[in-house]
Amino acid sequence: MEAILNWIADNQQMIYIVILMIFVGIEVIGRVPSVLHTPLMSGANAIHGVVIIGAIIVMGKAEHSNYVALTLGFLAVVLGTLNVVGGFVVTDRMLEMFKSKKKGSK
């Protein structure tokens, strides 16, 4: 019990952020029209790519002799980048389709 209370006290800022972000996340997309569901999902998918930052930290901290950490960290950076870059580019392509108002080439 005490351990839990201590943990909450130690991480109170983070816990505040979690609670507030839950409400912000719900509030922000509350009124999305259904046509935007897919791009929104894709955009959110790209945003959770922030996990890349953890991967960079793991990679940067790894000692040169620790091959497990180096390999896993490297893999994490590659996969995280895929998530971020791929996610944003796919979303952009989807949204580009939505507003092409100019004369089509085909």
Binding site: G30, H37, A46, V50, I57, L79
Partner: protein, 475 residues
């Protein structure tokens, strides 16, 4: 000084994520919203690489970091640029899986770090060395990330037709047990001799992967968008665990934001299909309910010839096109647009009726038709379309099935009962183009095809449309 700049970078990152998500939920600002979030992400990443320090030490291994960024960036960009419009959903699923795997790997490295530091101490428990809260963030990241990765890969396989639906009796109980096993393994790792903790840790991860597979396996392919959206929010939570681990606020805000928004989005998607999330996850499509609803008497349907169709359509006042998955499969969006232009040049009003879940993803049809330069104003949402069907002469259904099935209104035994549908029957004529009489994704018969107003035209949507265009030109 440098650390406060990094804090600023993270603050900017967090704010852009919120603004970006907000802008993404409005059609007019969506594209910029995506760019805003991407810019914030770039700032946060660059800040981390050059400014982050722990215990006064900067990050090293730059060649590895930049190598990883380069490889991931190039592959990611190419994959995202090359992918066909119809395969977008699969792509999102893969990228989501990558994020989940990334979170799990971070946890694995952190766990390995702890194990290496304390393994020399014999017969001690892991719980003697690290706080429960710290362990919780590591193991939660590992488990959620693994489930998300495995689940996304299965979802990808299902969408691309590589993995078939698979379910067996009592699967839900097996899944529940599996989840319990994963959770107990996680607790066990913490409370057991540290010498074995790495084996236990990887066992936990392995079982979490199996759970991810089992979790998605029984869910029908048509429900994959909902599943991907749910896994998307899982990955968000996994990323947030990383935020706890490193006391990193941008990871935390980004992760939780996506976790919350993703969960809501999942529920909204379910609502668009008028089903509950529980109903989707427990899975009813393709199950026992189908057998009960399907065995109705099959009446006779009538076919229509291309030339008849050409005549009916060119002399109509208003034509409504109802696109579905068949259009996407046949890549017929350009032919469809061509037909639209041809008919308009003959003075026919052409509009599209878009059911929110037509195709394999919400918005799938909008994206597809937009690719063929169909003007945004011609796309009617379901409510608008239903208001206009009574004044429509011809409804042309291209490869859609369940979204026009009147059983959703009339037959309480039908698995899709209660789903809002397009009331195409209000129109004077209904022409259905399908490849065959096979039922649609929900696996149920469609009475619409046997109604007197309805005529069938079998064949691949693209070929049919091209032939039809030829016929109309020859009139």
């Amino acid at each position: 000084m440098e650390l406060s700049i990094l804090t600023l970078c993270y603050l900017i990152g967090s704010v852009t994520f919120i603004i970006g998500l907000k802008m993404l939920s409005n059609p007019a600002t969506a594209r910029n919203g995506n760019l805003v979030a991407a810019a914030g992400m770039t700032i946060a990443i660059i800040g981390t690489i050059f400014l982050y320090e722990e215990d006064g030490k900067k990050l090293g291994n730059y060649p590895w970091i930049f190598g990883g960024l380069l490889i991931g960036g190039v592959i990611g960009t190419l994959a995202a640029k090359k992918v066909k419009m119809t395969s977008m959903p699969e792509m999102v699923s893969i990228f989501n899986g990558m994020g989940g795997a990334c979170a799990a790997l971070i946890s694995a490295v952190e766990f390995d770090h702890i194990y290496q530091s304390y393994k020399a101490v014999d017969s001690a428990y892991l719980s003697d060395f690290i706080q429960a809260g710290h362990y919780l963030t590591i193991i939660a990241g590992a488990i959620i990330g693994s489930v998300s990765f495995a689940g996304s890969m299965i979802a990808w396989g299902k969408l691309s037709g590589k993995v078939k639906d698979f379910s067996f009796r009592g699967q839900h109980i097996v899944n529940l047990l599996m989840l319990l096993v994963v959770l107990s393994a996680a607790v066990f790792t913490f409370q057991y001799n540290i010498g074995y903790s790495h084996i236990l840790f990887y066992t936990t991860v392995g079982m979490a992967l199996i759970y991810g597979v089992l979790f998605v396996m029984p869910i029908g392919g048509a429900d994959m968008p909902v599943v991907i959206s749910l896994l998307n929010s899982f990955t968000g939570v996994a990323a947030a665990c990383g935020g706890f681990l490193y006391n990193n606020k941008v990871m935390l805000t980004g992760g939780i934001l996506v976790g919350a928004a993703g969960t809501l989005l999942t529920i909204l998607m379910c609502k668009a299909m008028n089903r509950s999330l529980k109903n989707v996850l427990i899975g009813s499509f393709g199950g026992g309910a189908t057998a009960a609803g399907a065995q109705k008497e099959q009446g006779a349907y009538k076919e229509i010839s291309l030339s008849d169709m050409a005549v009916i359509m060119s002399y109509a006042n208003k034509v409504m096109i109802v696109p579905g998955y068949g259009l996407a499969v046949a890549q017929a969006q350009h032919a469809c647009h061509e037909l639209e232009k041809l008919l308009e040049s003959k003075g026919v009003t052409v509009k599209y009726a878009i059911h929110p879940v037509a195709g394999r993803m919400p918005g799938h049809m909008n994206v597809l038709l937009a690719e063929a330069d169909v003007s945004y104003e011609k796309l009617l949402e379901m409510e608008q379309a239903n208001d206009e069907f009574s004044t429509t002469d011809v409804v042309l259904i291209l490869g859609a099935n369940d979204v026009v099935n009147p059983a959703a209104k009339s037959d309480p035994a039908s698995p899709i009962y209660g789903m809002p549908i397009l009331d195409v029957e209000l129109a004077k004529n209904v022409i259905v183009n399908k490849r065959s009489m096979k039922p649609g994704y929900a696996g149920i018969e469609n009475e619409l095809f046997f109604r007197p107003k309805t005529s069938m035209l079998f064949g691949d949507a693209k070929k049919v449309l091209q032939d039809l265009i030829g016929e109309i030109k020859n009139l």
